[in-house]
Symmetry: C2
Subunit: 168 residues, 2 copies
Amino acid sequence: MKLEEGRSKFIQAWGSLGSSWGISKSMAQIHALLLSYPEGLSADEIMEQVQLSRGNVNTNVRELINWRLVRKETVLGERKEFFVALHDVHTISQNIMEERKRRELEPVRRLLNELKAATLEGKEEDVKHFQSLLSDLADFVSQMENLTNLMTKINNNNYMKKLIKAIS
Amino acid sequence: MKLEEGRSKFIQAWGSLGSSWGISKSMAQIHALLLSYPEGLSADEIMEQVQLSRGNVNTNVRELINWRLVRKETVLGERKEFFVALHDVHTISQNIMEERKRRELEPVRRLLNELKAATLEGKEEDVKHFQSLLSDLADFVSQMENLTNLMTKINNNNYMKKLIKAIS
DNA sequence: TTAAACTTTCAATAATTTCTGAAAGTTTTA
DNA sequence: TAAAACTTTCAGAAATTATTGAAAGTTTAA
């Protein structure tokens, strides 16, 4: 198989997988493209390679930068910007978990806190059940956060990585 | 605040949160509703409470059952089925992680294996970079899987939970 | 300045996903 | 057996999300 073909297969497949990760196809494809090149690509090169409109590339590259998965680079003497993926898989996974925590966990915590703060009137039994649901969910959120932090630790510590594998 | 109001707030909010979890609003709302009742509800009661069509309730309850977050229950002498949420937060989180692993990680692994198996022709440098990307991603997937397994362990072991918290 | 090279925005359109509700299917009861 | 009580399916409608592309904005060079 030609390298080009493999790369393109990777980009296409990563694009479809994107949706199950809650990421748009274009964003996932652009990310795959940039990951597969050690050097940065310009907006025009991205448009060309993944066949997307200028606007789409602009929006999604910006989003990738928000996720801290890609950064802008300027080349001396070149006017246009180049986009480079972060290639270190530890940093990538850390940034993804960070962002997911922010998007998926924090809003839940906010909701739970709001409801926990209220004094609920109703049949004692039912109130009790509802409140214990709230507190269970809060525990769950905390545990997910601990796990994310643990992940970060693991990334920076090979010994701990082995420990985790051993006890899993 | 009336219990009813709190519950309804919870259901509505959980519904919106659902989208950032990659789950449809209806499914998330139904889950929230069932979580908030200790006993099971019938399809008609669900339709009534969250204002959804019969078809929608049927589909999403089935999906919740697939995720192992809800189960069917029959009551002696009653003809209709009742749906009860699993209320144990450990089981819930385990089942969610299990399902996410299946949906999000396994397809990636399949793709990576497929590409890893091919012999790639191209400039040595570039092939090398691409292959090292593939192997890095495979490592990442493994690590996520280890973490999921660890989560399961934690759930069943309070001592380990404390250990994790301590080293995080 | 002006023009060229580039980036950003955003209204319109397309694609995808979700939801409805009526019809078909199934099981139980009389 | 028929009919009542319930569940499932699925084509079409509605809602949501993603994408385009042209126009506006910005920066640099001449």
